[in-house]
């Protein structure tokens, strides 16, 4: 690993189209965002291509914005908004603003270690998939610190997703997904769900329009400090599942 590569990325602005954009949605992440940016910047700068990092703040009320602004990383773009619009909204803004040939969305807690990125990138670059989904539910995946309750809930939700929405992806909710630029822009332009279950809608749309989706096993750690209220999110997830069906029936999802 070369420190020079990181130093170059930190100080020299890229001129052309980046090979990769990484979008991180952030809401009140002052405790976690800097460490995650450090881990990502160090690893990705060494992969041998130009890349940009987008932090899509979601109206944080803590010092997230100030901390990110003070880092002075020239290839980091901070997308600010005065309102808290939901995680899906932050990811959507990041995806629309991204310039890379490939676009990764990653959670702010580095719960899927950034070292897993090469597996997803290889699926898009070498096997011509449109979407690569980090998965905790396929053979070869590793999970740490996940509670029995979360295991149980994940299993139940996976069954519903497969049998109701007919999405052939076992883990729709892992916060580590990569798209080609075209897929990212098209899918997120049609997005209507702005909460945590936006992934479900994006994968439904990808399936509906026949995009090629690869599910890639990744390691995952249940990182401390999660802001997810499990009970509320399950209720929203089920409600959004119905909304997706209704939207689809009404013809809301039209490809640009």
């Amino acid at each position: 690993m070369s420190y020079e590569n990181y130093k170059n990325w930190k100080t020299k602005a890229i001129s052309g189209i980046p090979h990769l954009s990484i979008v991180i949605p952030a809401y009140n992440e002052q405790e976690r965002i800097v460490a995650t940016i450090g881990a990502i910047a160090s690893h990705v700068s060494d992969l041998g291509f130009e890349w940009e990092l987008l932090i899509a703040d979601d109206g944080s009320k803590d010092d997230t914005v100030k901390l990110v602004e003070e880092l002075g990383l020239v290839n980091l773009r901070l997308l600010k908004t005065p309102k808290n619009g939901g995680k899906g909204n932050a990811v959507q803004r990041g995806m629309i603003a991204s310039k890379g040939r490939y676009v990764l969305f990653a959670d702010a807690d580095n719960s899927t270690p950034i070292e897993e990125i090469s597996k997803l990138l290889a699926k898009l670059e070498k096997e011509n998939y449109d979407v690569a989904v980090g998965s905790r539910a396929v053979e070869g995946a590793e999970e740490s610190n996940k509670s029995f309750l979360r295991h149980l809930l994940s299993g139940g939700l996976r069954w519903i997703v497969k049998n109701v929405l007919r999405i052939n992806v076992r883990d729709t909710q892992c916060g580590f997904k990569m798209y080609t630029q075209k897929a990212a822009k098209e899918l997120h332009a049609m997005q209507t769900i702005m909460g945590f279950s936006f992934d479900l809608e994006i994968l439904f749309l990808a399936s509906k329009y026949g995009l090629r989706i690869a599910e890639v096993p990744v390691s995952w750690v249940d990182a401390p400090g999660s802001k997810v209220d499990t009970k509320k999110e399950i209720q929203r997830f089920l409600r959004d599942l119905v909304n997706i069906q209704v939207n689809n029936f009404k013809g809301v999802y039209r490809r640009m």
Partner: protein
């Protein structure tokens, strides 16, 4: 997280490996507390095996450093992997700690 202990040049050393985050700080907090109770104020934390460190783990090291300095000692860090070094730089904690590239340097400085 993988943890081992050793003594070199009369300095107590803890060697850490894996992801050093809020789930994993308890044994390090206990080690620091044990050292304080035993009157050991010159310590080394070897981070060679650590590939990610979060704010809780950083805070644990800062607390350890503070306690050592209050007793006229030092807590030195060594053998950081690049991602951890970058996290220390971005949080500006590289200015607070004495950071060495090898365990020998970290212990020889205090001997």
């Amino acid at each position: 997280m993988d943890i081992t202990h050793k003594v070199s040049n009369s300095i107590n050393i803890i060697q850490l490996g894996g992801r050093f985050d809020a789930h994993e700080v308890a044994p390090v907090v206990a080690w620091l507390k044990g050292q304080a109770e035993a009157g050991k104020v010159n310590l080394v934390v070897n981070l060679a095996g650590v590939n990610f460190i979060d704010s809780t783990a950083l805070s644990t090291l800062v607390q350890g450093l503070k306690h050592c300095r209050e007793k006229n000692g030092e807590l030195h860090l060594c053998c950081m992997q690049q991602p951890v070094r970058v996290i220390f730089e971005l949080t500006r904690l590289d200015k607070a700690f004495s950071i060495y590239t090898s365990e020998e340097e970290a212990t020889a400085f205090q001997a």
